[in-house]
């Protein structure tokens, strides 16, 4: 890329990302851009890709108004209807001025600065000056940049991974610094790309990467070395306070403080705590457990503002697992046992209205623990966590330190109803399956209602067989979807099932996957909806 870093290079990156479905190819594209683009352009690009920029004065309606002044309204609306996206239609229809200045002298940083300086009054005057300097791809990138919503499937995690890949640094470190810095992340690039010192973040509120667990497949652990606690079914959060400011971070490092305002004024000590965010209820662990199901929590996720009613009906609290920092001491290097004792010592200083301690599960030995785990289903808990008593708190998933030991999944027999083509490597295979259960007795005319969708749990060889089955048993085609003869039974594994108004069957499964393909089983012997409903623990 000859002029990497300029607006044109950013537009080319965005364009390439639009068409790339493979995660590895996306990573490679972003990494190549980050390596070749200059500062501070690459920092702005990173922020733009992860929705870290906001230009309130530039609205989609501003663009529409500009277009109305330049293009016949009938031609505009016919075009907009066909293309289906305002930014793209405008980028294609913008009348480029004769002898327009070349765009390759326009740094992304300058574009960002100009967009940031826009006001509602100046936008209609200033945006055209930028649009005039670009080709259609550049205009598309500019309008997306200005009005938000890149929609190129780049999560913050993917961007961090690409950054780590570009400069050969650990993604955990990137994660730790990233959330404490603001675009264009000058210190981050100075450290990773230019070999400078790590950013000094001593006094900045920031996210610390979570310690994660491996699944315990078979095997056992010795309870002399490992402590057990319940694996609660909420969302893992980090709550931190420094300099009088409390922040709440999700597992991906996103700041979700605004979604849970009731937690922002209750922590009175400077600390970084690891726990499970739950809402009050009795589904998990009964009255004593005090937590509602994940479904109840879900009503509160992803909101930018929270109503008083919601705060009252579904109050959130944090069930604490661990302490990372406390009043100036970093406990992460210390063994879990010591951190646990520190956490227990801290509990009396935290209000019980918003905090409790995740209790340890005591058992004589592993066999006894397994029996206790089996009761987790009735308690609607996901399973157990096993933590090495001497484990430090380290970022990411490190072998043999922490295990998650999920209870065995629920199983149900469903009938394959629809199959859809996959993407990327699977684009020639029908690899996404929608399956249903009978809404009554199939021998007296009951019908199948879709209950879930799964695209994993089978081997490559089985995928080939399934693909062949779908092609040979097609009833109808709807674009990439085929409706198939209701004949093939899947034994579907899932973690839990909840009521849902969104689905005709009235329920939704969590983590459904194909457990076994029952080529042998007749469809009418598949399970009934009634049975599945009986497993709801909302």
């Amino acid at each position: 890329m000859g002029n990497a870093g300029l607006m044109e290079a950013f537009a080319a990156l965005l364009d390439a990302l639009v068409y790339t479905t493979s995660r590895n190819r996306k990573l490679a594209l972003i990494a190549a851009y980050l390596r070749s683009a200059p500062d501070p352009d690459r920092g702005w690009a990173l922020a733009a890709l992860t929705d870290g920029l906001d230009f309130p004065a530039a609205k989609s309606s501003t663009v529409r108004t500009l277009m109305k002044e330049r293009v016949d309204p009938v031609l505009w609306s016919l075009s907009r209807d066909f293309v289906g996206d305002t930014a793209e239609t405008a980028s294609l229809l913008w009348p480029a001025p004769e002898g327009a200045a070349p765009q390759d002298d326009l740094p992304l940083a300058e574009v960002v600065a100009r967009l940031a300086a826009l006001t509602r009054a100046s936008a209609p005057r200033e945006l055209p000056l930028l649009l005039d300097r670009m080709d259609a791809n550049g205009r598309y990138a500019l309008i997306k940049l200005a009005t938000g919503g890149m929609r190129v499937g780049i999560s913050a995690r993917l961007a961090k991974t690409a950054f780590a890949q570009a400069f050969d640094v650990a993604v955990e470190e990137v994660e730790e610094y990233w959330h404490a810095l603001t675009p264009p992340y000058a210190e981050l690039f100075a450290w990773a790309a230019a070999g400078g010192p790590a950013p000094d973040l001593a006094s900045t509120p920031r996210f610390r990467p979570f310690m994660l667990a491996h699944p315990l497949e078979d095997g056992e652990v010795d309870l002399a070395d490992y402590a057990a606690e319940w694996k609660w079914d909420g969302i893992r959060v980090q709550l931190m306070r420094t300099g009088g400011v409390t922040r709440l971070y999700s597992r991906s490092g996103d700041d979700i403080s605004a979604t849970f305002p009731e937690l922002l004024n209750v922590l009175r000590v400077d600390a970084v705590l690891d726990g499970e965010l739950l809402v009050r209820g009795s589904a998990q662990g009964g009255e004593a457990g005090g937590a509602a199901s994940f479904n109840a929590l879900q009503q509160r996720l992803g909101r930018k503002t929270v109503s008083a009613k919601m705060l009252k009906e579904a109050p959130a609290f944090v069930r604490l697992y661990d302490v990372l920092l406390l009043e100036g001491t970093d406990w992460r290097e210390h063994p879990w046992e010591l951190r646990r004792a520190t956490l227990e010592g801290l509990m009396p200083r935290l209000p019980a209205s918003h905090f409790d301690l995740s209790q340890l599960v005591e058992a004589e030995d592993f066999t006894a623990l397994a029996r206790i785990r089996d009761t987790a289903r009735a308690e609607a808990i996901e399973g157990l966590m096993l933590k090495r008593r001497d484990s430090p708190y380290v970022a990411g998933r490190k072998a043999a330190l922490w295990y998650k030991w999920k209870r065995d999944p629920l199983l149900i027999d469903c009938v394959l109803m629809y199959a859809q083509r996959g993407s990327g490597k699977r684009s020639s295979f029908y690899s996404d399956y929608t399956f249903g259960c009978w809404d009554g007795d199939p021998d007296v005319g009951a019908e199948l209602l879709p209950v879930g969708k799964a695209y994993s749990g089978f081997t490559d060889a089985e995928l080939k067989q399934l693909d062949k089955f779908v092609r040979q048993n097609t009833l109808n085609r709807f674009g990439p979807v085929r409706e198939v003869v209701r004949q093939l039974v899947f034994e579907v594994a899932f973690d839990s099932v909840h009521s849902s108004k969104r689905h005709k069957s009235g329920l939704a499964m969590r983590f459904p996957r194909i457990h076994r393909i029952r080529w042998d089983k007749p469809a009418h012997e598949a399970d009934r909806l009634k049975g599945l409903r009986g497993l709801i623990r909302d």
């Binding site: 639009v18 068409y19 016949d72 031609l75 016919l78 075009s79 066909f82 293309v83 289906g84 684009s427």
Partner: protein
């Protein structure tokens, strides 16, 4: 050369209707009817006599009693639909008398090999039916010829101002760059088997690409036909004769329907490209799982459609198929008389 002179088929209509201007040419749902000669242009069902603009399936159908078309179009129809009986060849520029005082002249349309506009003349009135056409130069077929007429019956496949096709050299450059950047993979290009595929190959050759280009089996015969008509395509081989490793770092052409089909599983890590005017719109490319969109079309883009109407400068423009509303609107805005014809059977082929 099969030219018919002094045809005797009489028009079925009374002379009073025949004297109204342009009453002799009548758009019907399944084609354009030349009433006095009882001949149909690109009819969508079998008729006794048809004039066919070019070999694509939505214009050329088998089963007509007599088919008048250019020699190349007839050769394509023989290959694709086994049309042999009743084939009457008309060279470009040759005025063919088709009966009752109507003559037809086939003029180059620049769309695919053999494609033609048809100029119909009757009682001093001139009507052109473009069939499908484009204005950009194409090494596989003759360049569109601007010809004055009274009624210009035009296609409108890309009749929206969002459609502007970039110079083909840019798109070929993208294809070659992707190939160079992925020496262990291959670039699988979806291209319509008649016209688009051969044009992409010829342009690759013109850009200096000399390596073997691998073809899906459905493209072999048409490639040979083009070669026989003097269009050199260089070294072409069939995917079915290759090993995976042989195809690494190469360009492979297949009909669009094969892109995500089981057929493509034999290819080494394919990057899916598609050569089509629709690739101008991101959503269209993403819908089809295209990773490398190449905006290459055998149809006129918006600027070519509007510029051609202005150049031909007819009394009236009739719009046959595509996005006719927008082109009608353009005519209205530019004070040109125009009407949309509701013809059936023309498709948004995979152009």
């Amino acid at each position: 050369m099969g030219t018919r002179r002094g045809g005797t088929v009489a028009g079925p209509l009374s002379s009073s209707i025949m004297t109204a201007p342009f009453a002799w040419i009548r758009p019907e749902p399944h084609g354009i009817h030349v009433v006095p000669a009882d001949v149909w242009i690109d009819p969508s069902r079998a008729v006794p006599r048809a004039l066919v603009t070019h070999g694509h399936a939505d214009h050329a159908r088998g089963g007509h009693g007599e088919t008048i078309a250019t020699p190349a179009t007839l050769a394509i129809m023989e290959l694709r639909y086994n049309t042999r009986a009743g084939a009457v060849a008309a060279e470009y520029g040759e005025a063919v008398t088709i009966g009752s005082g109507v003559t037809a002249t086939f003029l180059p349309a620049g769309h695919v090999l053999g494609s033609a506009q048809i100029l119909l003349e009757h009682a001093g009135e001139r009507v052109i039916i473009t069939g499908d056409y484009k204005r950009a130069p194409d090494p596989t077929c003759a360049l569109f010829q601007v010809t004055p007429c009274d009624i210009f019956i035009t296609e409108a496949t890309f009749g929206l101002p969002v459609f502007t096709h970039p110079p083909i050299a840019e798109e070929i450059g993208k294809l070659l760059a992707a190939r160079a950047a992925n020496p262990d993979a291959c670039i699988l290009v979806g291209a319509y088997a008649l016209g688009k595929a051969q044009r992409v190959i010829a342009e690759l050759r013109a850009a200096g690409h000399r390596d073997t280009i691998w073809l899906h089996g459905a493209m072999e015969a048409m490639g040979r036909l083009y070669e026989e008509h003097g269009v050199g395509l260089g070294d072409l081989k069939l995917v079915s004769d290759a090993t995976k490793d042989q195809m690494r770092g190469s360009i492979i052409l297949a009909p669009p329907s094969a892109l995500n089909d089981r057929w493509s599983r034999r290819l080494p890590d394919p990057i899916t490209a598609m050569a089509s005017g629709w690739m101008r719109v991101r959503g269209r490319a993403r819908q089809r799982g295209v990773e490398l969109p190449l905006v290459i079309s055998d149809h006129a883009d918006w600027n070519e459609l509007t510029a051609t109407i202005a150049e031909v400068n007819p009394q009236e423009t009739w719009i046959t198929h595509g996005r006719e509303e927008a082109l009608l609107r353009w005519c209205e805005l530019n004070q040109r008389r125009a009407r949309a014809l509701a013809l059936v059977g023309y498709e948004d082929e995979d152009d």
